[in-house]
């Protein structure tokens, strides 16, 4: 029996319970969803999107993988414990807020850097974006923690 070498080895248990069609589609949908999540994250400041929405879409990606493959597979996709994602997200968001304190300004005061790129001119990078990234990580970590742990209880 041949197996597509590009696919990760499915769990023995999962192979039997899940449909091949779902598993394969899930494999292709995962990067698509993650990419889409990043896209929503990056442009959220200027169009619908942002850390929450991106985090939720990324969580949906994890859920797809979980349903299509297995709980262990979903954990492998994240690579780190989702609770670490939460912690890092919180720390990032706090750090984004603390920046202002060092210059004697109130907590959460935004700080912006204007980066000039040779081709495309000026780009605004600021602590709110860092903050949004923290939000993203927390949302992703939370939803993943919940879904993966719940699903693990079922098997």
């Amino acid at each position: 029996m041949t197996r597509d070498r590009r696919l990760p080895p499915p769990d023995r248990n999962a192979l039997r319970t899940q449909s091949l069609i779902l598993r394969t589609t899930g494999f292709f949908l995962l990067p698509l969803l993650l990419l889409f999540a990043l896209f929503l994250l990056l442009r959220g400041h200027n169009a619908p999107g942002g850390g929450f929405i991106a985090g939720l879409v990324a969580s949906a990606a994890i859920a797809v993988h979980l349903f299509a493959m297995s709980e262990a597979g979903a954990r492998r996709v994240l690579r780190v414990d989702p609770r670490d994602l939460i912690a890092w997200g919180l720390i990032l968001a706090l750090a984004a807020g603390v920046i202002g304190l060092f210059s004697g300004q109130p907590f959460l005061t935004a700080h912006w850097l204007t980066v000039s790129l040779p081709v495309f001119g000026e780009l605004k990078l600021g602590s709110p974006l860092l903050f949004d990234l923290g939000v993203f990580l927390v949302v992703l970590g939370t939803a993943s923690t919940i879904i993966i742990n719940l699903a693990e209880q079922d098997t």
Binding site: A47, F52, I146
Partner: protein, 115 residues
């Protein structure tokens, strides 16, 4: 439309409360979901409904042209939705664990702690 929305919100509250009064904890959770949605729609309606005016600033402008929907209310609701999600996640797992230790989906069998 605000009148209709006010009625809809009322229905959602009524349904949510009806569900929370049931003995099944699963229904209780469904009630919580409805309640959260009801509160969000209440804020949405109370802040005023605006057709075709998303709070986005066009690429070529400093401020949106004309009237836009209240972005603050939307931000509040977004926060409330996400908080509601977190709380709901907790509640959902709680009822599952409660079911596991009580071995019943019946609120009336959960009276031991109240004397």
């Amino acid at each position: 439309m605000t009148s209709l929305m006010a009625l809809v919100v009322g229905v959602l509250y009524a349904a949510a409360i009806y569900m929370m009064l049931r003995r099944s904890i699963v229904k209780l959770v469904i009630g919580l979901v409805l309640l959260s949605n009801a509160a969000n729609l209440l804020i949405f309606t109370a802040a005023g409904l605006h057709r075709d005016a998303p709070p986005l600033v066009p690429d070529d402008a400093q401020v949106p042209a004309g009237l836009v929907a209240d972005p603050l209310a939307q931000a509040l609701i977004l926060t409330a939705i996400v908080i509601g999600f977190g709380v709901l996640a907790f509640a959902v797992v709680l009822i599952r664990r409660a079911y596991e230790v009580v071995e019943a989906d019946d609120m009336n069998q959960m009276r031991d702690t109240d004397t």
